[in-house]
Point group: C2
Chain length 286, copies 2
């Protein structure tokens, strides 16, 4: 079975799974595994790897509207080089610091491929799930999309800039600010198109969005071969960690959010369309 | 640097790391990574793998004297076979059920080698750390040691029994019962010898233990080639998940513990000795 079918199986077997985090009382918890061949292009520093992998889990905490409290990581590598390990820990600690969470350690594993498993926890009494969107509401996204796509393409020519783009800021503060006004929320790690489909499926609704309203990151223009490619990177590439959410009060949300919020369209009864055309439910093949 | 030096580096960099779990307020959290080549001998079922990997993290929660609340896991494999995945989830869920924790899900990762990353959480206002042992106290162990060694050697001849031995019961209830009376505690996953050295280092003390008082699992006798081998398996093999702890009231502890507790020796000023001879600080090479 493919990964989506397998995730469906897990969701059916475990009623607590299936959102960005599992909810246990007032605690939310999430775990992720990243590894060299798929997640860290050649040139990714261990500092960036620590930042990004722990950040990915913190982003899931943000997507529940929770306060991030702590994170741990397992560092799996063929050998433990002091410099690399120190850099990794520094990245992990620093990304936690941007969110107010504590990086409290983890474990080591001798592992053929560089592999990182991260877990983050948070606290909230009112988690925002994926299933509350209602037709007529606005659909919004924080920050800019396509940043990771830009980074990914720059590793060969400008690794320093690429690493910088890979070290995103998890939207924990924005998630906290937006949560009281959001009816459904998730992060954009699978790409904006897929996020809309997932929110639509969970909430039993659809979305009508306009590409011109998408806040596309400036790096996309730098790396894209043409306009079609740019659109592909912005809409489907994913691996960004922005929040995608629905609200009936976008103006107020924009006022309270500590980062820019763009309204990209509205919630409709069914179907996901961009500029009046069906938007396919697929990520980028990379 | 080797794994122990690397763990030392993490401990220095992160004051919250270095015990069986990190402590965040009243929550304890721990994470582990297990993978096919080192942790799951050929013949290990996915049911056993799910049980054992989640159990390893629950054992760390037990070693803090905490109530286990929840666990998550990442299932990394080259392909997702429905039967295997269902068996894994069942094992993960069932081991949680033995402790009162909820298995709340996790993530999937396409990964060349079968790899599992687990995280468990627990709650306690009075965690038992490794650093409170005092000379004159008794040193104790729960259950029986060498069970995993027995299982490991039986995979070729009796895989069903081997799998059964690999599905240990995390000592969460025992940890809860023992905690109010324990001055230092950890689990025996690195082997009893190494656990004593680690407790001694953290508490700045030593131990004098007697081999005849060790509660050796009956499977060790079945698989050992001779008495020397049996002793090696019982003392150094590790990968068991019993609790090793110190207390000034062993009789009371034996009364309140839901599982058998053996007094194996006493806390001394310095050095770790077995039957009057220095006990080397090493695990089993396997």
């Amino acid at each position: 079975m493919d990964e989506r079918a397998a995730l469906g199986l897990i969701g059916d077997a475990l009623p607590d799974a299936g959102d960005d985090c599992a909810v246990v009382g007032s605690t939310v918890i999430t775990t992720d595994m990243l590894h060299e061949t798929t997640d860290f292009p050649p040139g990714t520093t261990r500092y960036t790897a620590g930042w990004r992998s722990v950040g990915a889990s913190l982003s899931d905490v943000a997507a529940m509207g929770a306060a991030a409290t702590a994170a741990v990581a397992v560092y799996g590598a063929p050998s433990f080089e002091e410099r690399e390990l120190r850099d990794f820990l520094r990245g992990a600690r620093e990304v936690c610091e941007t969110t107010g969470a504590r990086y409290v350690g983890g474990d080591l594993d001798g592992h053929e491929e560089f592999t990182v498993a991260t877990t983050a926890m948070g606290e909230t009494d009112t988690p925002v799930m994926r299933d509350g969107a209602t037709p007529g509401e606005s659909v919004c996204v924080t920050g800019r999309i396509g940043r990771s796509a830009g980074g990914f393409r720059l590793f060969e020519t400008d690794p320093e800039r690429a690493n910088e783009l890979f070290r995103f800021e998890p939207r924990v503060a924005a998630g906290r600010a937006v949560a009281p006004h959001a009816s459904a929320m998730m992060d954009s790690s699978d790409g904006l198109a897929r996020s809309l489909h997932q929110l639509g499926e969970a909430s039993d609704c659809g979305f009508a969005v306009e590409y011109d309203r998408f806040p596309v990151h400036e790096s996309v223009e730098t790396v894209a071969t043409d306009g079609t490619d740019a659109r592909e990177l912005a809409v489907h590439f994913g691996e960004d960690f922005e929040l995608v959410f629905t609200t009936d009060d976008p103006e107020h949300v924009r006022e309270v959010s500590p980062v820019p919020v763009s309204v990209i369209g509205e919630v409709i009864e069914a179907g996901v369309e961009m500029d009046g055309e069906p938007l396919p439910d697929r990520g980028y093949t990379h």
